[in-house]
Symmetry: C2
């Protein structure tokens, strides 16, 4: 019935038959939207699950002065604001705009809750999604809590090393990207990298980093 949803993290593991059966039991509606349409405002109560089926949506965080801060894009088949359907606040964190024409499925919260009870695989999937968001944010915070650029570089490299295991790290990011990821300016990042190279902590070439002094690198994060 809605084969696109089979690929969504929420319905992972279900067959098309099972999904069709499920939707025969769970009230839902399909809604089409057009480019530029405003689907939700920040602060709106979230009382329904929204599943993006076609098209592209864009979430814009807006600050107190009314300016747009951060933009996140969402592609199908994904759930919108999954971590905000439940919880004490349950308000939209962003303004939700349509970047293209498309369609969404809407399931009211009560029905959504029933669906989770009905099909425990969907329940586990949903909990995995929300937990994943929390874990992602938790990692983000660890990173944002690092004060200096040196610390961020050290953390970044050590994070990469951990997955690799060597003293060699491949980079797939440009310094320009990294600077944005770190929330610092590009020249500042470049300067700090040079400094650390001069201190013989590592050598940083275009596509890889070679650690020369793991001890020093660790000690940067020691307080």
């Amino acid at each position: 019935m809605y084969p696109i949803l089979l690929n969504s993290p929420l319905f992972r593991g279900l067959t098309l038959e099972e999904l069709t059966l499920l939707f025969s039991q769970v009230k839902h509606q399909i809604r089409h939207f057009r480019t530029g349409e405003l689907l939700a405002q920040a602060g709106d109560p979230v009382d329904k699950a929204i599943l993006l089926m076609e098209g592209r949506l864009q979430g814009e965080m807006v600050d107190f002065a009314g300016n747009s801060l951060k933009i996140e894009e969402l592609d199908p088949p994904q759930m919108v604001a999954a971590a905000f359907l439940y919880g004490p606040k349950s308000k939209f964190p962003v303004f939700l705009n349509a970047k293209t024409d498309g369609k969404i499925m809407i399931i009211l919260k009560k029905e959504f809750t029933d669906m989770l009870s009905l099909e425990s695989r969907v329940m586990v999937n949903y909990i995995n999604i929300v937990s994943g968001k929390a874990q992602f944010l938790s990692g983000k915070i660890t990173f944002l809590s690092l004060r200096t650029i040196k610390e961020k570089i050290a953390y970044y490299i050590l994070q990469m090393v951990k997955s690799g295991g060597n003293n060699y790290v491949a980079i797939d990011q440009t310094q320009t990207n990294l600077a944005e990821l770190f929330g610092v300016t590009r020249p500042s990042l470049s300067r700090t990298i040079q400094e650390m190279e001069k201190q013989d902590i590592f050598t940083w070439s275009r596509d890889n980093i070679v650690i020369k002094d793991l001890k020093k690198l660790n000690s940067i994060l020691g307080r």
Copy 2:
């Protein structure tokens, strides 16, 4: 049977009878611990739900150099690492130490999942808990993303005003506390407050803030 758990967010809304019935169907075990005991290490896979019933636990974030960074305490009846039982990582984010003697209930993940399917109120409670964590972290990140101390002060005040509605904000925090919350040093915070007062944005006395120029305050957050 375990009346203390009635007050836990996870079992909110259940009667003692219902809870007792539930635990007759869900395998679980009680484990006692002693002061100083290490209950879990950061990185350990999380394959069981841990509910603190008595005593006090302490989570310590540890950095690469082996130093303790942040400490969070946990009091009963709370679930430990609720947002890390599911999700792609599913590893303990902290070292879990016992501050006092006490006891925990352990429910294996499979049994826990069954319990959520079995009793939809507990399921919703659990989803509320995890969603709440994600939302809390999301707000934290918004705050940490602010670059300058001025922005943090502006954001903080506007946040307070929004709940109040006036141009008057009561403070229950000392500057020393606020500085820590903002992640800046106390003299820097004090200095910045003075500067903003000189710019006639607000007056900041011991126990309240009076906004004198809301426009300026807003414009600080405009980019």
